[in-house]
Amino acid sequence: MAYSNKVIDHYENPRNVGSLPKNSADVGTGLVGAPECGDVMKLQVLVNPETGIIDDAKFKTFGCGSAIASSSLATEWLKGKTVDQALAIKNTDIVAELSLPPVKIHCSVLAEDAIKAAIADYKSKQDKDKGVPATAGHAQPNA
């Protein structure tokens, strides 16, 4: 399995590994993937309530080098973007940046899903404050 230098770099020096407080009103959490598939990504964003800009992003990933790199790269790109700009990030951008081979494209798709899930979670928290029901979109602990 030949990895691009960028994938190796993200693997050796992952950016923004860690967790943000899940219950904070300004934090959105996206948890996507499944252990049986060999890929699970947790991506979190901290949104500044005044500016609407993502001040911080953190990730944790169970998966191959390409999955780790995709989610690490995602957190790098998210910082400093507005919520709407974050939603515009496409998996194809990740594929291009990391030179992912065809067999690893699904890792970039999962990273895009994680971003969208995190943003959706953040938005649903804002809506809840305004009395709008939460939307499903990420994994729930026990049925």
Partner: protein, 406 residues
Amino acid sequence: MTMKLPIYMDYHATTPADPRVVEAMLPFFTQQFGNAASRNHAFGWEAEEAVENARKQVADLIGASAKEVIFTSGATESNNLAIKGVAEMYREKGNHIITCVTEHKAVIDTCKKLEKQGARVTYLPVQKDGRISLAELRAAITDKTILITIMTANNEIGVLQPIAEIGAIAKEKGILFHTDAVQAVGKVPVNVNEMKVDLLSLSAHKMYGPKGVGALYVRRRNPRVLLSEQISGGGHERGMRSGTLNVPGIVGLGKAAELCRLEMAADTERLSKLRDRLNAGLQKNLDELYVNGSLEHRLPHSLNISFAYVEGESLLMGINDVAVSSGSACTSASLEPSYVLKALGAGDDLAHSSIRFGLGRWTTEEEVDYVIDKLTNVVRRLREMSPLYEMVKEGVDLSKMQWVTH
């Protein structure tokens, strides 16, 4: 002693040829290069003598007589010859074969091909320890069963099947018994009479010999086993396998077999200690480790461990100066988790998190300690990055999670 990197710990995939084996082979390329079937001159006679000498060396290793050893291009061919050869030769007697879900692809795919041609095959499941149930074997036997084929030792998890007991059942029922003994020959004592096997496959490159040569043991007495040849031609190897013999390869196989017979006890003692050291070292440093397959009925130099909550490929990336494998080499081309681990009942996630260690003749204690340290650091680092490990530590029951996938 300076340790060489990368470290090789994948002896189940292949082994380096022993220098003494290579030395024995060399004259047969350029000096004693005759065709062993050339009956009329000294070039042929000396090649034939070397082949017969190697035949005896292989036979001695497995407790057979030299006449019962057929040379092939390797164990895949031996497995094909044994299974297809019996199926064709004994088709009047029946068309049912019993094998096991954890067999090597060379056996499973051969059986699948026969199924397409009308044979019936039973694939016995394995228990959690990786061994078949003798009761289930008995229950699967019908009056159309003509062959039982069960491997002696598994290439992925190193587990040893109860071969002598299987052989006793086969004998009792009058059914031929073949075993793929590739991973066991030269590593643990193998005796075709004690094991009551009628056919046995072995491979040179798994026991410090060259690639491209192997053998099939074919019993001649009680009963005399007949095979329908799969490669037709000049009638070599008692008509069972035509084709000019690979004399240098065969000489290498013979020498490798002899060295294994003489050095097995000492190698086993040394390697089982190293294997246990590796296991103990990892277990001491890390939690949530699971050894796949029985630790009791296992090859002395083999270890297969799942590192929960860490994915196998990312693990291998982190120990890129150590050669091991995740799942088996034969299935590395596919993206599916190991079918052998799945058969043990390991969840897909544990199958994705497994590493197979195979130690060998040149493995040192220094290498084992290096691997323990390296692996410990990588696993710890990846677990810090693992959302699953985080959730487990928080007390979340992962089995109750509803995951969001495509």
